[in-house]
């Protein structure tokens, strides 16, 4: 029987990706049975596709237009996130050999990166359960998104980043009033510290304790892309890969749009874009879809993608394979050239991750991954300007050690 929608979620519960157990959607963030990763699942087959499409079209010009396909309701206090433009990009297309090229320009979000999307979902959950502090482990963009969302909603924020994070991103997060903690070592060291803190502090750690909500925000890029293509799936999507969450949720979004019968069941090939200095997923895809091998010391100008041990790495490889997609790993020189090319040809000034995507699309085109006339969408996930001119106070750099953190940040923790 068709259900009438009133912007309520069709959430059924959390499903474990490892053991498949369906469990209640509550404060849990790993499977209660096997400790595997859990993801929201929805009753989509019961929805009337015409009513759903109509409701989405009538909805707000933000990611909350997809409320029935999201696990939590929009908070009244937050600002608009999402519904970013999809540009046809003929000049860039001609330069890199792609006939029908689009840019999903997600640098146009409140903190200038796509991370505002997952944070909007995590924030909504944090507010719903009355948490007063947001926190994250970040390569830079997520730090800005968390700091901005906390500022907007009057919450406290702790953001943890590798010491070598782009100064402009650190400065931006500090300007929003977050406590920015720079940690010696790679992102993986930051992540280890945060996994421990998430366990011990009663905070809304967006990429740990709020993970099942957080990750759902990344689906909305593909939802919007399909709607902007008049409810058709793009033939190809090229996705920058750091943790792999955006890529795996792009695949989830495709599956959900098909299950809800909002789009026809046409192929949508998902391709990974990574820099050669940190390409665990692309390498695994290009070497016969093997298991992901972690990279101990990532070195790349695209620091936002420098995650050597991507939690959704194997999931990304599987999603790419199932979609019929591929991958590319591109040099730093190529990345910077491609950023300049993107700016010159289309007027879009992206951070290096955008250059990774453009360079990867060019490499894929050279390998004839795209056929004439097929639509190719590039995710541009971050802006080149990240709050350069203003800053706030910064605390000391610490080792990835919970006791050292608590010792060095006594006042902030009070």
């Amino acid at each position: 029987m068709a259900t009438t929608l009133e912007r309520t979620t069709a959430l059924r519960g959390f499903r474990c990706r490892a053991c498949q157990l369906l469990q209640p959607a509550d404060e849990r963030y790993v499977c209660s049975d096997c400790y595997g990763p859990i993801e929201p699942e929805y009753d989509l087959a019961a929805l009337d596709p015409d009513l759903l499409r109509e409701e989405i079209t009538r909805g707000p010009r933000s990611l909350w237009r997809y409320a029935p396909l999201l696990p939590v309701a929009e908070p009244a206090s937050h600002y608009t996130v999402g519904w970013t433009p999809l540009h046809l990009a003929p000049r860039l297309g001609a330069a890199i050999g792609v006939e029908r090229l689009y840019l999903k320009d997600d640098s146009r979000n409140p903190s200038l990166s796509f991370k505002d999307r997952p944070v909007a979902l995590a924030l909504a959950r944090a507010l719903a359960v009355g948490l007063d502090t947001l926190a994250c482990a970040s390569t830079g963009n997520l730090a800005g998104a968390v700091a901005a969302a906390a500022a907007r909603n009057g919450l406290r924020a702790f953001v943890f980043v590798p010491e070598a994070t782009d100064e402009s991103k650190v400065a931006g997060a500090a300007a929003y009033g977050a406590t920015v903690v720079r940690v010696r070592g790679t992102y993986d060291q930051v992540n280890r510290l945060c996994a421990r803190l998430a366990d011990e502090e009663h905070w809304g750690f967006v990429n740990f304790t709020l993970r099942p909500y957080y990750a759902e925000g990344s689906k909305t890029l593909l939802f919007e892309t399909a709607e902007q293509l008049d409810w058709t799936l793009p033939d190809h999507v090229v996705v920058p890969v750091g943790s792999g969450a955006l890529l795996t949720r792009t695949a989830t979004a495709v599956t959900q749009l098909r299950s809800a019968r909002l789009v026809d069941d046409t192929p949508c090939r998902i391709h990974a874009a990574q820099p050669v200095g940190c390409a665990p997923v692309s390498d695994a895809v290009l070497e016969g879809f093997r298991e992901v091998r972690p990279v101990r010391a990532p070195t790349t100008v695209a620091r936002s993608l420098a995650i050597g041990t991507p939690a959704d790495g194997d999931g990304s490889v599987a999603a790419i394979r199932a979609s019929g997609g591929s991958a590319a790993a591109v040099t730093d020189e190529d990345v910077l050239d491609s950023c300049a090319l993107l700016a010159r040809t289309e007027g879009v000034l992206a951070e290096p991750a955008g250059g990774v995507v453009v360079a990867a699309a060019r490499a894929l085109a050279k390998r004839n991954a795209f056929q004439g006339g097929e639509s190719v969408v590039l995710y541009i996930t971050g802006n080149a300007y990240k709050g350069q001119p203003v800053s706030g106070p910064l605390g000391p750099v610490i080792g990835a050690d919970a006791d050292e953190f608590r010792g060095a940040y006594v006042d902030e923790l009070r």
Binding site: A18, R28, Y29, V30, S32, D33, C34, Y35, G36, P37, K115, C136, A137, S138, T139, N141, L142, Y187, D188, Q189, N191, R192, A195, R196, D199, V206, N207, F208, R211, G242, S243, A245, L246, P294, R296, S304, L305, I307, T309, P310, A311, D312, D314, A400, D401
Partner: protein, 89 residues
């Protein structure tokens, strides 16, 4: 050759509520065998096919176990942390 294993909260119930466990294991494979023998419920959560599973990250004195030199040698090491595999960006 005593080594302490520190467990994240969601895993403690599977180990009788303990936050830390003590093992006498010279290397990672011995540790894995002892976890399987002494804490079968914990083993079903963190082990797959006789190794640590892909859904957990295991750190030995702060170093990812996959980057450990000397074939998982635990001699002279003190703390093993078992954490859920998650990351942000």
């Amino acid at each position: 050759m005593s080594i302490t294993v520190r467990l994240a909260t969601p895993l403690r119930a599977a180990a009788g509520g303990s936050a830390t466990l003590s093992f006498d294991a010279p290397d990672v494979s011995a540790l894995v065998r002892q976890i399987a023998d002494r804490y079968p419920e914990l083993a079903t959560r963190v082990l797959r096919d006789g190794e640590f599973g892909r859904f957990v990250n295991v750190f030995v004195d702060g170093e990812d176990v996959r980057f450990l030199e000397g074939d998982g040698d635990l001699r002279g090491k003190r703390v093993v942390e078992i954490l859920p595999a998650m990351s942000g960006g």
